[in-house]
């Protein structure tokens, strides 16, 4: 189990996180949601790496995160970053093998080779195996990076003694509809295998489709914590995102859909444009500047 108790984190005089507590257990997909600047990525960083907190603590498998060595930590948790290097001069197979680096000293053993082979097959990237990473498209690179972080925490024999954690920072932000589902299906599959997945997601509908629990952040504190149906109420979304929404239940799956109220939204955008908040000092209207871009 991963547990954060009352964590408070400040940089300078700015309080980024204020008394945040959460817990995530094996087999759970926990989503951290909230508007831009709410502290989601900061929280994910504090849960996944050793940081000096102002208050509170993070424990992973009942042990304080500060007591782990970097290598021990690397073996029980992997992090898929929001953005990553685009011009690695290595072959795809070599990049994925990098995920196994914490597990061997000089050269990979059979287990490492086998795991990499398995992951390449599972992600359907066999045809890319010998390509140089830098020559791949953005979506292909993202899948290879996913493969690399999967390789990091994958074990051959199901090891139940120690829960492993998978952190995803906006993993679907630049993916098409199909690949969004692929990534989140992979995350869901991992939870069924006994992993614990903690992800930052923006799309409220994807969240209600996949999340076991949602932690809604707002201005550095926890606004609501629980199941998607419990967290996403009309009033709360209005309060946090400043947006009116309709909640619809899908008659087939029973899933909750959150649809922004477009009529109100349009009048609001118009208001933003006439107020010109991005372009205070210039006489050129914003919509013309946008066109010229």
């Amino acid at each position: 189990m991963l547990q954060a108790t009352n964590i408070t984190y400040t940089i300078g005089s700015k309080v980024l996180l204020n008394h945040v507590s959460l817990h995530a257990k094996a087999g759970e997909l926990l989503v951290i949601a909230g508007p831009n600047g709410a502290g989601k990525s900061t929280l994910l960083k504090l849960l996944s790496e050793k940081t000096n907190l102002d208050m509170g603590c993070v424990t992973i498998n009942e042990k304080d995160i500060m007591h782990y060595t970097p290598k021990e930590l690397a073996k029980i948790r992997a992090v898929l970053p929001q953005s990553f290097s685009a011009n690695l001069p290595f072959q795809v197979e070599e990049v994925i093998m990098m995920g196994r680096y914490p597990h061997f000293d000089e050269y990979p053993n059979e287990t490492d080779v086998h795991i990499v082979k398995e992951i390449i097959a599972a992600l359907e990237i066999e045809h890319l195996r010998d390509r140089v990473y830098a020559t791949l498209s953005g979506g292909e690179q993202q899948r290879v990076q996913l493969g690399r972080v999967l390789a990091q925490i994958r074990t051959e024999k199901e090891d139940v003694s120690e829960t492993k954690y998978f952190f995803l920072d906006e993993p679907v932000s630049s993916l098409d509809l199909y690949h969004q589902q692929i990534v989140l299906q992979t995350a869901k599959y991992l939870t069924q295998e006994g992993y614990c997945v903690i992800a930052v997601l923006h799309d409220l509908n994807l969240i209600s489709q996949y999340a076991d629990n949602v932690l809604l952040m707002y201005q550095g504190h926890v606004e609501a914590y629980g199941s998607a149906a419990h967290v996403f109420t009309k009033e709360r979304i209005k309060n946090v995102y400043g947006l009116d929404v309709h909640l619809i239940e899908d008659p087939v799956s029973g899933q909750l859909f959150i649809v922004p109220d477009t009529t109100l939204f349009n009048s609001k955008t118009n208001q933003i444009i006439t107020n010109k908040p991005y372009d205070n000092n210039s006489s050129i209207p914003v919509n013309r500047t946008l066109e010229s871009i």
């Binding site: 790496e49 290598k71 990553f84 290595f90 990098m98 990091q152």
Partner: protein
């Protein structure tokens, strides 16, 4: 990451070429010694006699002058190229070079200081005592200390909140280089004509000061990085993913930075101390290897030691035979050979080089 078969072939070729060039280099110069004679002279030292005849002069030239000089060239070439490769990997910047973090600038400044003020200093009793202890090596030791001090300053300036920031380090390096350059210029302004000539030759580099003493003195400083740096290749490969990703994979990025900078300073500082500034080797050799065989740091680091040693041995051979019995400064040769080779490979591998 395993060394690929192509990379293995390159490394083996480098080793073979190195052996050939060592034999050529010890044999050629003002006095010719044939490879067979070289072999016999070496056997003679171990007590086996009479394979090929050689005379006393050849024996002495070989043991006292040529052999230590070739060994010195091997060590210095390996030190410069290896440090360049490691720093390029650390900064993830193809222009990183031992000069960039202030090593060469500090060495130049202290060398120029010693050359110009040595005569003045020699009259003070304390200095006479020190010089009595270290004698002939005063200049070498001063340059070594100078290079360590500047790279330490650059390193300190790049630290913030207990972390080393690579951008700060490059900027600090540029600042310290400029400052040392200005001070060096100022001192040069006061130098006499004879001192100016000394300064010029020092800054072009030479293996002329080679002796068993110099070889044995720098051996530990160069040998330690040659053994230890390739052991960091896995971490350096990981670092290409980005500092944060490397730390997620269990690499202590900050410790890695300190290890590489200390080892590179040791190697380059000691090389510059005995041979002056030999440019180009640290910058070009790793690039040539990358363009030929790929980016695996294990291959790059091992290959750089070999290719750097090869380049310097070859250059020193040319430096000695081109204008024999005089000799050219070796820095001129490395640049003259290195540049065309580099440009040729650049043109040939334009496509691959875009990923550097």
């Amino acid at each position: 990451m395993k060394i690929s078969s192509k990379q293995r072939i390159i490394l083996i070729t480098l080793i073979l070429l190195l052996v050939v060039f060592v034999f050529l280099s010890v044999g050629n110069g003002a006095l010719y010694i044939s490879p067979a004679q070289v072999f016999s002279i070496m056997l003679h030292k171990t007590g086996v006699n009479g394979i090929t005849a050689f005379d006393e002069g050849q024996y002495n030239v070989f043991w006292v002058i040529r052999f230590p000089r070739v060994l010195l060239g091997l060590l210095i070439g390996a030190a410069l190229a290896l440090s360049g490769a490691a720093l390029q990997g650390l900064f993830r910047n193809p222009l990183a070079d031992p000069g960039l973090i202030g090593i060469s600038a500090g060495a130049s400044l202290s060398a120029v200081l010693m050359i110009v003020f040595l005569s003045t200093l020699s009259t003070t009793p304390y200095f006479q005592y020190v010089e009595g202890l270290i004698g002939y090596y005063t200049l070498n030791i001063a340059t070594f200390i100078g290079s360590c001090i500047t790279s330490l300053i650059v390193f300190r300036l790049s630290r913030s909140n207990g972390k080393t920031i690579v951008t700060n380090m490059l900027l600090a390096g540029i600042a310290i280089n400029a400052l040392c350059g200005a001070l060096t210029g100022l001192i040069t302004y006061y130098a006499t004509d004879a001192e100016l000539r000394n300064i010029t030759f020092w800054s072009l580099g030479s293996l002329g000061g080679a002796s068993w003493n110099t070889v044995l003195t720098i051996l530990p400083f160069v040998f330690t990085p040659i053994v230890l740096l390739p052991r960091l290749s896995k971490s350096l490969n990981t670092l290409s993913l980005g500092e944060r990703e490397a730390s997620y994979l269990g690499i202590s990025v900050d410790r890695l930075k300190i290890q590489i900078i200390v080892l590179a300073t040791l190697a380059v500082g000691s090389a510059v101390a005995v041979a002056g500034i030999i440019g180009f080797v640290g910058l070009v050799v790793p690039h040539v290897l990358r363009m030929m065989g790929g980016f695996n740091q294990r291959y790059i680091l091992i290959g750089s030691s070999l290719a750097g040693a090869l380049l310097l041995t070859g250059s020193d051979l040319l430096a000695r035979i081109l204008v024999a019995p005089a000799e050219l400064p070796i820095g001129i040769i490395t640049a003259l050979i290195g540049t065309p080779v580099f440009i040729w490979i650049l043109i040939k591998h334009k496509k691959e080089s875009q990923f550097i």
